[in-house]
Symmetry: C2
Subunit: 361 residues, 2 copies
């Protein structure tokens, strides 16, 4: 039904372009109603909130002519089928994490994050000016979607563990809910990665089906309640240095949009992108304080664990790159960007931030 409505509207648009007598308003601002399915419950008001901010922004920019209705995980399709729904046209758009779909092809990982990838700013830098947007969308074509950056969580936490992880051996046999492709690194180190959508994690951790679980950071993790059943909160989430949240748009629907509606979607996604990280930076600090006040124990992964993970991650990426041309292409593009940018980041940013943190912590 939605599909037919859309086709009818764009047909009017096309006719109007060729006929001066047609109502000018149909030509310039056609009425559209689209649906967006998200991988988040509404309670995660930063992730789901960004989908809403995006949709509201598009409506505002089109005088409410282009309306996008947002749906939480499970309302139309489950959390981890959001991409498929956009790909096959069940909905026009999905707001999700590309790396959830690494089972189709590990190249999906780069759209969100890989272990030891760029931080929030450098992922965005790669996307906007390092060729990231282009190489990723070249890959996504095969799945009949185009992707726009529409949020970032910042560097995530390493998650909630029932027992302390003191050595690399402690990862062996660990049943660990971890988002997407980075689970393969955990697997290389003997862990048992599990990919569950947000609503399913807490019960699994509570029942002991999971030994550990990571989601995002203090604000979201607090809402999901993990601190009630796992005491140790680890940092950093080395597999999510600056995870990008993705807006996938069905390619046929995208190509049929008037050019100025495409531009409006593009800019509204950038606005929602800025909004999301700002919300996290507002909400995470007090949430972390509350968690610690509630008895959660903050722990850092030891240097030995970090080094073992670095090594395992690069072995994994290099192995896959040998047989997967898409993976190789995107991997090399990302590595080139961060390989140049991080040394520069050291000169001014890290120098400045280290000084500020000494004074303000």
């Amino acid at each position: 039904m939605k599909r037919r409505e859309f086709l009818k509207t764009s047909a009017i648009g096309a006719a109007a372009a060729a006929t001066v007598a047609a109502p000018a308003i149909a030509q310039s601002m056609p009425e559209l109603k689209w649906r967006l399915t998200a991988s988040w419950p509404k309670s995660l008001d930063t992730l789901f909130g960004a989908a809403d901010v995006f949709a509201k922004s598009v409506a505002e920019a089109t005088d409410n002519k282009f309306q996008i209705q947002t749906f939480a995980a499970g309302e139309i399709v489950p959390a981890l089928q959001a991409l498929d729904a956009a790909s096959n046209g069940t909905v026009e758009m999905a707001h999700t994490s590309s790396y959830y779909y690494f089972g189709k092809d590990p190249t999906f990982a780069f759209g969100t994050s890989v272990a030891f990838g760029p931080n929030q700013r450098l992922n965005q830098g790669w996307y906007y000016s390092g060729g990231g947007k282009e190489v990723l969308n070249d890959f996504y074509k095969k799945y009949n979607v185009t992707m726009r950056l529409c949020g970032n969580t910042g560097c995530q936490m390493g998650g909630w563990f029932r027992k302390e992880i003191k050595t690399v051996d402690d990862l062996k046999g660990l049943k660990f809910r971890i988002g997407g492709f980075p689970g393969r690194v955990i697997q290389k180190l003997g862990g048992v990665p599990q990919l569950l959508g947000a609503p399913d994690i807490y019960p699994a951790l509570e029942k002991g089906v999971l030994d550990a679980a990571e989601w995002v950071g203090p604000y979201d993790d607090e809402k999901l309640g993990f601190y009630k059943v796992a005491k140790y909160y680890y940092t950093p989430g080395w597999w999510e240095g600056g995870s990008m949240i993705n807006l996938f748009i069905n390619n046929d629907k995208w190509n049929a949009l008037p050019k100025h509606y495409q531009a409006i979607v593009e800019h509204a996604a950038a606005y929602a992108n800025d909004w999301m990280i700002a919300r996290y930076d507002l909400q995470n600090p007090p949430a972390l304080k509350r968690l610690i006040a509630n008895g959660s124990q903050l722990r850092a992964f030891s240097p030995a664990i970090m080094e073992a993970c670095w090594k395992a991650a690069h072995e994994l990426h290099d192995e896959i790159a040998k047989t997967n041309a898409s993976f190789k292409k995107v991997y090399e593009s990302m590595e080139a960007f961060q390989g140049a940018a991080y040394p520069w980041f050291r000169v001014a940013e890290l120098n400045y931030d280290s000084f500020m943190i000494r004074h303000l912590s």
Copy 2:
């Protein structure tokens, strides 16, 4: 002339809203031609580039109905009069740095950066979700403009010095081109701050009218040629932890815009904002390499200098806050945001970035 054209267009818009027989296109997408004056020469293709990206984005989102022509510094008004031109309606918009106008009121400083203020991400966080946008625009009302964040340079470099700065005493008598309000901190330490627009800095540094000059970072500084006449390149620019670039819009013109055009401007500014920092993170790394290959000597301000500047900056800010209510209000808002956010930044971001930089530098 431009003013009259605008009034005519918005009068048509208003009439159309009340008259169903009026052409629908005038109602939904009025044709507007605005002018934007920038504080940058066109050669600074990241700063001026963001103004262009913004203007192009607005045109694309309105099917070319809303056109904004961009002008470089000096084409309509000089670099440091951009705000006044927007304020008095000479142009509709200015793309500039708020802190250039600290002579009117030091509160202008916060719109760009103050010494030891937030880094790029946290300035953006403060603007979007920490109340920054609201407190700043409440202040700007007095100047008949409204401001939108439209770019960020990231943490800047400390600038180019003819002689090494080894002790706090070396700042005494130093004729230093420094952007905006932070010059007052240099003054407190015995230096002689000078505020010059981009095109005027190189000749002054070459002739010895200046002993030192800071602009932004490697990519822009290289274009301006400072390395040819000053050997020592200092880091970090502690007065520009993450300088925001500002789009000022004449308030009367803004209020007369249709709501959806306001939304389009808002989102296009966010898009240009993301674009600018991404461009810097692409262009700064190779520029820094070239500068060092050309013989520039990288230096870090000593801990003693950093501490003296921190102390002087806070004394200055506290002094002004005692007698200037606007300054106090904005200062407290910004300090509250960064005071909460930086300790959180330490937990995951700094931890992760430090590890990455050790491996990638």
